[in-house]
């Protein structure tokens, strides 16, 4: 990686002097992720994923006037909005980046977007911010913000569709009492009721208690065909399921992403037969393809690493489609390159995509996660639908 950095830096210098009179020879993309802080174990491979896409494009020599792409890393800290904004400010004003791949956590992403990206007119593509609060439906972001991970609001819709397809019209909902649980439960309730279903109760539970019989008593009294448990499998979520099974309150459940894990099967085995689950996950072919492409250079299965690759790729493809590295020009093209119509582009096919765009063709970027941008420019998300039967989780399909 170090060698690669030096190589790109050297290339950039040479390119800089060679094309001194040219205009868009060198493209700089900021990578702002929490290299320190609570998700510091995830961010190195996320950055590697993004830089892999940039290297691919540089090597192809097809972007704009055979420009080289230089990554510039900065630390978002994940939690400190002030530090993150300062780092992003440096990227934009000192390093003069043409686009930002990041940030990671929802809080700092919002801060950077409002304080730096919108103020300076720089496109930002986040690989991992999932808060519904970042969906800018009224164009508050001037069309500058995109994300390759789905909003939690999207999961509410996915659960609704899944349950409706199974003919379930009445459910009870319990959620872990924090931003994740409440956001998910509320977005699900809104979607489910809009689709004609009934949510009999939407009650919180606290994590880390020994006894959930009172909570389950209330849920049972409200009734419903299935219990949606928007909690954590290592915390109160399992306690709720245990109490519900013991008291016969509910036999089947729906498990959102916080509950889907090996621990769930370990805890309950065949007791949850007939339950459903769903969590965001690229299909198996896509993750194998990405792993093959990475070839062991870094951990390709680490969370949000494929999303990072896609985020960086989208920025560069949009530049090519616009024929410009100016954010205000290429921001219009991000949705076009990400969605149909056009030729489908998988991982490792960036050179092909650049060529098609150069020839004036149209592409539909699929990438490492099956990118499909909806609404104000966020991933539709690929959810793996699960059916629990006989103590194993069977993949029913993807939606």
């Amino acid at each position: 990686m170090k060698k690669f950095m030096m190589a790109t830096a050297a290339t950039a210098l040479m390119a800089g002097s060679a094309f001194a009179d040219g205009h868009q020879a060198d493209v700089k993309i900021g990578i702002i992720l929490g290299f320190t802080g609570p998700i510091e174990s995830l961010t190195p491979s996320m950055a590697d994923g993004a830089e892999l896409a940039m290297k691919e494009v540089t090597d192809s020599g097809l972007l704009l006037d055979s420009a080289t792409v230089t990554p510039v890393r900065a630390d978002s800290t994940c939690i400190d909005a002030g530090a993150a904004s300062a780092a992003a400010e440096r990227l934009v004003t000192a390093d003069k980046v043409d686009g930002i791949m990041g940030a990671d956590c929802s809080g700092v992403t919002g801060a950077i977007l409002n304080n730096v990206a919108v103020a300076n007119g720089v496109v930002m593509v986040s690989p991992s911010a999932t808060s519904p609060g970042l969906s800018h439906n009224d164009n508050e972001d001037n069309g500058l913000f995109f994300r390759t991970s789905p909003s939690d609001a999207r999961q509410g819709v996915v659960i609704t569709e899944l349950l409706m397809d199974q003919g379930i019209k009445e459910v009870a909902v319990t959620y872990t009492n924090n931003d994740y649980g409440k956001g998910l439960a509320d977005s699900f309730q809104a979607a489910f009721e809009a689709a004609g279903g009934t949510v009999t109760i939407n009650a919180a539970h606290e994590d880390g208690k020994a006894d959930y019989s009172a909570e389950v008593g209330a849920l049972a009294s409200a009734g419903g065909e299935r219990l949606v448990v928007a909690g954590y499998v290592d915390q109160g979520g399992s306690g709720i399921v245990r109490a519900a099974l013991d008291s016969g309150a509910f036999d089947t459940f729906h498990f959102p992403d916080g509950m889907v894990s090996a621990a769930l099967l370990e805890n309950f085995g065949t007791e949850i037969n007939g339950s459903s689950g769903a969590h965001p996950s690229p299909s198996e072919e896509l993750s194998t393809a990405f792993a093959d492409h990475v070839g062991g250079a870094f951990d390709s299965s680490s969370p949000f690493t494929p999303e990072s690759y896609d985020a960086a790729a989208l920025i560069m493809l949009a530049m090519q489609a616009a024929g410009s590295k100016d954010s205000n020009d290429y921001k219009e093209h991000v949705m076009n390159v990400a969605n149909a119509p056009g030729e489908e582009i998988g991982v490792g096919e960036l050179a092909k995509a650049l060529q098609i765009l150069k020839d004036g063709g149209d592409i539909d970027y699929v990438g490492a996660t099956g990118v499909e941008l909806v609404g104000p420019g966020e991933a539709a998300g690929n959810y793996r639908e699960i059916n629990y039967d006989g103590g194993v989780d069977n993949t029913v399909g993807f939606r």
Binding site: N177, I201, A203, A204, H205, E206, G208, K209, A210, D211, S213, A214, E215, V216, G217, A218, A220, S221, A222, G223, G239, D246, S247, G248, A249
Partner: protein, 336 residues
């Protein structure tokens, strides 16, 4: 039939859990009340004493499981219980020798004892987390249900199911045995009578030749047994987590004070009062009401007085009411 369904639903979600929880609280409150009556201070370390005793029992249970000893359909923890009690008693006697005895000889005021017990609480708390860790531990084994929802429905053909967990059955049976034995001991045996005499009037008891150190020692032994039994039953029925036991201190004290501090009968009544009010006030009565009431007046809403988040608040409201209107508690213990 509908009334029967209503009763079954009520038993399943209110009566049975509340009786089991009430028994666990009552055993805990008995320990607190004994210390208050005889040693004359509020022992804040009681929750962590329960945690320590339970931890010792769990470790021995794991040992038994490893060498293949089991109690058949009953949880192995019951076999390990006597050993757990012995270890817990050892710790309590050691604390008494090294800490409380010093303040007893100083004739320290009760409030100083309370603060000392707070210190002991933190040490025990740390000890438990240090040995077994702060996480959830499950140690229940054997048969899970006396009667499960499915068998109950098949047997009776009712719409509503009723589940009685083995641990709930064991809790109630053990609590009855322990309480009976304790009352026999306090009312019929010589040592028990001398303990009550010491509790009623320390100076008169000393004049009549009762050895105070012996009374204190016996008290700690009984408290160790009560705390360990209460803790193990709670852990079997729910799960063992040191922090949860620390939090249990609050409803246990509420139970002891509501019943009347220093009164064993009061501790039991208090335990059940707290448990039933916690469960009944936070229960959503919709289902039961729909079975029991004619359709015209059956509620559409949940008919829930308070969200379950406020469970702990219920015990404190009761505590406040009792302290305001009857400061000695239901069974006229000592005023606090």
């Amino acid at each position: 039939m509908d009334l029967l369904n209503a009763f079954v639903a009520l038993s399943n979600f209110v009566l049975i859990p509340a009786i089991a929880y009430g028994s666990q609280l009552a055993l805990g409150a008995l320990g607190v009340t004994l210390i208050y009556g005889i040693l004359r201070f509020s022992n804040f370390a009681h929750g962590d004493t329960m945690a320590f005793g339970t931890m010792a029992t769990i470790l021995i249970t794991w040992g038994f499981q490893a060498i293949g000893i089991s109690a058949g359909p009953l949880p192995t923890a019951l076999l390990a219980l006597p050993f757990g009690i012995a270890i817990c008693a050892g710790l309590l006697l050691l604390t008494d020798r090294t800490v409380y005895k010093f303040y007893r000889q100083q004739k320290a005021k009760p409030v100083i004892f309370v603060i000392v017990s707070l210190g002991v609480m933190f040490i025990m708390n740390g000890l438990v987390r240090f040995i077994i860790g702060p996480n959830d531990q499950r140690f229940a084994d054997g048969e899970r249900f006396i009667i499960s929802v499915r068998t109950f429905k098949e047997m009776t053909g009712l719409q509503e199911g009723l589940a009685i967990k083995t641990t709930q059955g064991i809790t109630v049976v053990t609590a009855v045995i322990v309480v009976a034995a304790l009352f026999y001991f306090l009312n019929r045996t010589r040592t028990g009578k001398s303990m009550r005499a010491y509790s009623d009037n320390e100076d008169l008891a000393l004049l009549s030749g009762i050895n105070p150190e012996r009374v204190v020692m016996v008290t700690w032994l009984i408290v160790a047994a009560l705390a360990t039994i209460a803790g193990v039953l709670y852990g079997l029925d729910k799960s063992f987590k040191p922090f949860v036991y620390f939090q249990l201190l609050l409803p246990i004290f509420a139970a002891a004070i509501v019943g009347g501090l220093g009164s064993p009968i009061g501790a039991i009544a208090g335990g059940f009062t707290i448990a039933f009010s916690e469960v009944m006030i936070t229960y959503a009565w919709k289902k039961v009401a729909n079975y029991a009431l004619p359709e015209a007046i059956a509620p559409d809403g949940l008919a829930q007085l308070l969200s379950t988040d406020y469970k702990f608040a219920v015990s404190f409201v009761i505590l406040l009411i009792v302290l305001l209107f009857k400061p000695t508690g239901l069974f006229a213990g000592k005023s606090v």
